[in-house]
Every structure is written in C-alpha cells, then in structure tokens.
C-alpha cells in the first residue's frame, strides 16, 4: 500500500470542476421559469443583489472552511467544522455535509439518467414517432392508481449512470473529476450556445413557428417594476441564487480542501461563481423559453411555467419541437439532453467526492472501495426513488434533502464561521494568498448580511403562507385568525396540511401519505447513520490518541 496525495492537476481544472458542481439542471430548467414568473427582467435585480450579498460570501466561506480543513487532513464537512471551534458538537453540524450529498445524489443521479436516456432516444429518433408526453410516463413505469413502479429501461439507465459516476470517482481527483469537468463544462457551454443561436434565429416563416422566439425572450426579460416591492420575488431570487451555486452541501468544502494552504481561493471562488451565472443567465435564460414560445406561442409557455419550473417543457415539450428542425432534430435533441447530462454529472461527482473523502480520512478506505460504497448506497437510496416515484418518494427526497437541509447547513456553517471561528481568523483565511483584492465590505457582510439573507430564506420556507400572500397572512395573524400555512412549506409538509387521509385508502391500499412518511423515516435513519459514523470515527481517533 502506498499513500498518495490527491491534488488538482491545474487551477483551471479546479475552477471548471467547481463551476461544473454549481451548474446543474436548474440553470436551464428552473432559472428561466423563475425569472419569467417573478417580474421578468426586474427579477435580475434582487437576483444579482442576492448573488453579491449571499452567494459570493457563501462561496468564500465554504472555500475557506474547505482549505482550512484540508490543512488538517480533513476533506469532508464533519472534520472541517470540528476544526472551526472547541465544541465537540461542531462536527455533528458537518453531518449535513455527508447526509445531503448522499441523499441528493440518490435522486439526482436518477434525473441524470433520464437525460442520458433522452440523448439515446433523440439520436435513435424515438420522439419522431412517440410524443414525449407518452414516452415519459411509460419510461418511468407510471400506471394510473399505482404508487409503485419498477421500470426496466429507467432502472438500466440509472445503473449505467451510477456506474459511470463510480468509475470516474474511482479514477481520483485529477484523472477523474477534473478530467470530466474539463470535457463536460466546455461542451455544455458549446452545446448551449449552438442551441441559443439556432433558437433565437428562428424566423416566423420557418415551418411550425407560430411566434417570434424574441417574444419568449421578452417574456423572460421584460421588467415588471412592481416585482421589486414584492417579498415573494426577493424570496424567489434568493432561493434561486442559493440553489444554483450548490452551497450548503459540503461539496465545495471538499473540492477546496485539496487547495494548498497559501494558494488563492478568493479569485477561484469568484471565477467559478460568475461562470455559473454566465451559464444560467446568458445561456439558460435564452434557450428553453424562446424555443418553446416560437412553436407553442407565448400563452402556452406562460401556462407551462406557472409553477416556476421549466421541467415539463424541457422533458415533455422540447423533444417534439426539435422535430421541426429536420435533419438537425436528433443532433439538437442530443445536444440539449447532452448538456443537461454534463451539467448533471459534474454535479453528482461533486456529491460523491465528500463521501469518498470521509471514508478515506476517517476509516482509511481506498478510493476504489469508497467509490463502490458510495455507488452502492446511492443505488439503494435511488431505487427507493425509482420504485416509489409515483407515490411521491422522489419529491420528498428533493424537498428534505435538496432544499431544506441545504438551507439549514448553510445557515449553521456561516454562523459557525463568522461567530465561532471568528471573522478575524475567517477574513485572514479568505484573503490569504488571494489573487484578487477582496472588498473589505465583505468582512461585515459575512457575519451580518449573509446570515440575515439565509435566515429569511429559511423562514420563508418554514412558514410560507397559503397562496404565498405574506401580507394577508400577517394581517390574519394580527386579527387573531392564525397563520394559514402553505402545504408546500416545511411546517405544512410536516403537518400534512391539506392531506386528511391516512396510510391506507378505503380499500386498504397504500396511500402516497404512507410513502411520504416512510421516506421521511428513511431519510432520518440515513442522517442518524451518518451521525453515528462521525461519532465512531472520532471515538477511533481519541482511542488512537
């Protein structure tokens, strides 16, 4: 056995890997719909404000925590958090950094596998004969009235996607993750730019075109200034920034842990963050909605994005629309789903590495063994999502692990960094070796403004009122009518607002509520297991010491 030091092969590779971690499916599917539904162009004002006051500071905090932890041989969140203060409890905050990566990877790899399947079916011309609206439910094995599904093709693509992730992870940081980012990120940008140019240059006399694609671009960018006074718009903008940067996961920490003590993190973090914004705003904002508008008309697109997600347009509508592009249709389909696949895999690899690092640092697991273990756990958890997808397991995973946990971890880590580790040491950590001048105002933004922003996002998710009308909810509370919780809020979900049924239906059949509750129990057990592993790892260290 020979000990090998993991490190990034190049600085550009590190930045591309970090950008690839941040760039995900949400850049192309969620952002344009969010912008269009929240004031159009004016959404970009709170969005950029949130990026500067919450996104960039969080990136610097996470890079700093990561590089600091790496100096002590910690490449996953528990050890890094442990090093920020004297309390023995800090390492348990880092459990979020394991739990989130493992559980998000489980359902995220499933979505990633859909994109791979769609690349295959785009090339083979499936969507010429079968509309995606028929193909997709069949692919997922959905049947009316059933809460379970075991679709053979979706399972096969899921296993292939997982195997690819495991193989890349087992190759290590430089030969695996960095290489994948160096190929994937430029390719997804090129694919995106080609589709943007093709989409925006569609003439109104082209076959199938019913409206100018610029009408769609106008829908995304036309500013509705009243949005600036709307709390929901600010909440949506802060939420979008938060989720697009992949903060609050523990993956940025992990990648940064392989940066040398005196090497820059400030410029690297800023570069990766702005690159993500380029992909999201410039490419993501100019792709889906303009193309869909050209073929379906603005009214249909407005209806399809009403929920703030472009998911159905991306998977159910776009493949059909590409059929209007003649010989270019299979290429366009492969490019669209290919760019989604690259966006996905560069993110899922970032979820795997912290788990491998934890197993290596704390239990001495070899890289290949760690990658297989990660793949095995992801497969088991992912199959829960595959099997119970129609019952709502997938959405439960997405909400509790991909939304709620991230905000909790980010809020806790920024408080620990700024108030326990301390801003004096924290600022020195961020600026040491910096290749850019970090504006001193961030020394005050990080301890005060960023936690405030995160606190608002957290509260917004916790007690979101029914209909999203905060003014009405506050008035109701002051009038003694109580707070009407939205079914989609954290408390609303916990209390099953709007769901009066039990675990079994009138004929004794299992209901989605049972699936939701069992999924929550499963996730709680995973969190507990991660906590126990951290406990065992530290007890092992103490015994050795």
């Amino acid at each position: 056995m020979t000990a090998q030091k993991e490190q990034w092969a190049s600085r550009a590779g590190l930045v591309l890997a970090m950008a690839g971690n941040a760039v995900g499916l949400g850049n192309f599917l969620r952002f344009p719909a969010q912008a269009a539904q929240n004031g159009g162009g004016v959404f970009l004002i709170p969005y950029l404000v949130a990026f500067v006051l919450m996104g960039i500071p969080l990136l610097w905090v996470e890079w700093a925590i990561g590089r600091h932890g790496g100096q002590y041989g910690h490449h996953s969140a528990p050890g890094m958090l442990d090093r920020l203060g004297k309390s023995r409890l800090l390492k348990y905050i880092g459990v979020f950094g394991l739990f989130t990566n493992l559980t998000v990877a489980a359902y995220y790899c499933y979505i990633e596998s859909w994109t791979l399947a769609y690349v295959f079916h785009s090339i083979t011309g499936t969507f010429r004969s079968t509309p995606p609206t028929e193909f997709f439910p069949a692919y997922l094995g959905q049947h009316a009235g059933s809460i379970t599904a075991l679709p053979p093709e979706a399972t096969l693509f899921f296993v292939v996607t997982l195997a690819l992730n495991v193989w890349i992870l087992s190759r290590g940081l430089a030969k695996g993750i960095e290489m994948a980012a160096k190929i994937g990120v430029p390719l997804l940008i090129v694919f995106g730019l080609i589709l943007v140019v093709r989409g925006l240059t569609l003439g109104t006399d082209a076959p199938g075109v019913v409206e100018s694609p610029l009408a769609g671009l106008n829908f995304v960018w036309n500013p509705d200034l009243s949005g600036l006074k709307d709390f929901n718009v600010w909440l949506a903008a802060a939420g979008q920034i938060f989720f697009t940067l992949s903060v609050g996961m523990g993956s940025i920490h992990c990648y940064a842990a392989y940066v040398r003590k005196n090497r820059d993190i400030a410029l690297n973090a800023a570069s990766a963050g702005w690159m993500n914004e380029f992909v999201e705003v410039v490419i993501g904002g100019s792709l889906l909605i303009p193309i869909a508008t050209a073929y379906l008309g603005l009214a249909a697109v407005k209806g399809a994005t009403a929920g703030g997600s472009g998911f159905s347009m991306g998977f159910l509508t776009l493949p059909s629309l590409f059929n209007n592009w003649g010989w270019f249709a299979p290429v366009a389909g492969a490019m669209w789903f290919g760019l989604l696949f690259f966006a996905g895999i560069t993110s899922s690899l970032a979820m795997g590495q912290p788990i491998l690092a934890f197993l290596a640092d704390e239990f001495g697991a070899a890289r290949a063994k760690g990658a297989l273990l990660f793949g095995g756990c992801t497969f088991v958890l992912g199959m829960w999502c595959v099997w119970l997808y129609p019952g709502g397991s997938f959405d439960e995973f997405d909400f509790w692990t991909g939304t709620f946990s991230l905000v909790v971890f980010a809020l806790l880590e920024v408080i620990v960094f700024a108030w326990i580790f301390g801003m004096e040491k924290g600022w020195a950590e961020i600026t040491r070796g910096a290749d850019m001048k970090v504006p001193v105002v961030f020394r005050y933004v990080i301890p005060y403004v960023t936690p405030l922003f995160l606190g608002v996002v957290f509260l917004g998710a916790l007690v979101q009122p029914a209909g999203g009308d905060w003014g009405e909810a506050v008035r109701g509370l002051l009038d003694g009518k109580g707070w009407s919780l939205s079914a989609g809020s954290v408390l609303g979900k916990l209390m099953h607002v709007g769901d009066t049924g039990g675990w079994h239906g009138p004929d004794g059949e299992v209901t989605p509520r049972m699936v939701k509750d069992l999924t929550r129990i499963l996730l709680s057990l995973v969190f507990l297991t991660c906590g126990v592993l951290v406990f065992l790892a530290w007890r092992r260290k103490e015994r050795r010491a």
Binding site: A3, L48, G73, H75, L214, W221, N268, E277, V281, R367
Partner: protein, 48 residues
Amino acid sequence: MTSAAWAMLVVTWSVILYFAIRFFLKVLRNPTPPEPGEDGPEIPFKDA
C-alpha cells in the same frame, strides 16, 4: 422585445460577461500548478 427588456438584458449580460471573463482570464494567466513538497494536506487516499 420592448426597449425596457432589451435594456435589462444588455445591462445584465454585460455585468455577468465582464466578471465571468475577467476572473477566468485571471485564473488562466496565473495557472499555479501544484508542486510536490508544498505545505498542505498529506493524508488522503491509499491505493492498493
């Protein structure tokens, strides 16, 4: 496209492109490849 939409698009794209290109070029101009023997983590992975 309305002129207000064009204005929002041009201003936002300019800001984002300016910082994205500026910072990435700066990264490319200072490649600083890792060198063995520097201070830093010595632990990680073991290969059979």
